[in-house]
Chain length 123, copies 2
């Protein structure tokens, strides 16, 4: 699959809306995903990582309705060979230990990511 | 200042509550701070970074009431020599371009960070 090089790079973080996490908890989970994806991407695809970082590390936070939909998104990211990181909460507060909360994908190009997450709404 | 080595490592992200950012916007801003602090810390203080990362990269998201209080926290972090990153939003949505939204600090030990942010409430 050709990746248009003129495309902006972004990272997408997809959060489970059904858990109704607080603002602070959501922020912490998204931050876990972003850190994991950033380090994995720097290793696996340094050119895309450097472009993304230099452009101001654009991040978009979207929502899915439940765990099933989150796994569907992950399966598509895997099939496209995109760096991604599924976050499982340690469960100190709000939710049960081991609850899957969100998924980070990328950084990659807008067009690659929009094929997978283009239909999702902003959180 | 002695750093007790038995202390857990954590990263603190301090968010301006007065901006009343949405959940998604807050998550994106916190993720910026976390990525910046993680890379800066890996370079400046790899031992603390490695400990924090190996322990599951604990993150705590706290709130301040306004920009003035955020700058006070940053001044204390600087004075203690702690890695920190002030995030200014690109302003695509919700707030004016150039608005300072949050501050990441660490990772460092619980005791070091609690001296600076111990009085702040969870977001």
């Amino acid at each position: 699959m050709a990746i248009p090089t003129s495309d902006d790079a972004k990272m997408v973080i997809v959060v489970r809306a059904d858990l109704k996490l607080s603002k602070g908890k959501t922020a912490a989970q998204a931050a876990h995903a972003a850190v994991n994806c950033a380090f994995a991407s720097k290793k696996k695809d340094p050119r895309t990582f450097d472009k993304w970082f230099a452009e101001g590390q654009k991040k978009v936070v979207l929502k899915v309705q439940d765990l099933k939909q989150l796994y569907e998104i992950k399966a598509m990211a895997d099939a496209s060979g995109l760096v991604n990181s599924l976050i499982t909460d340690a469960g100190r507060t709000e939710i049960e230990p081991g609850t899957v909360t969100c998924l980070g994908i990328g950084p990659s190009t807008d067009s690659m990511l929009d094929k997978i997450t283009g239909d999702l709404s902003m959180l």
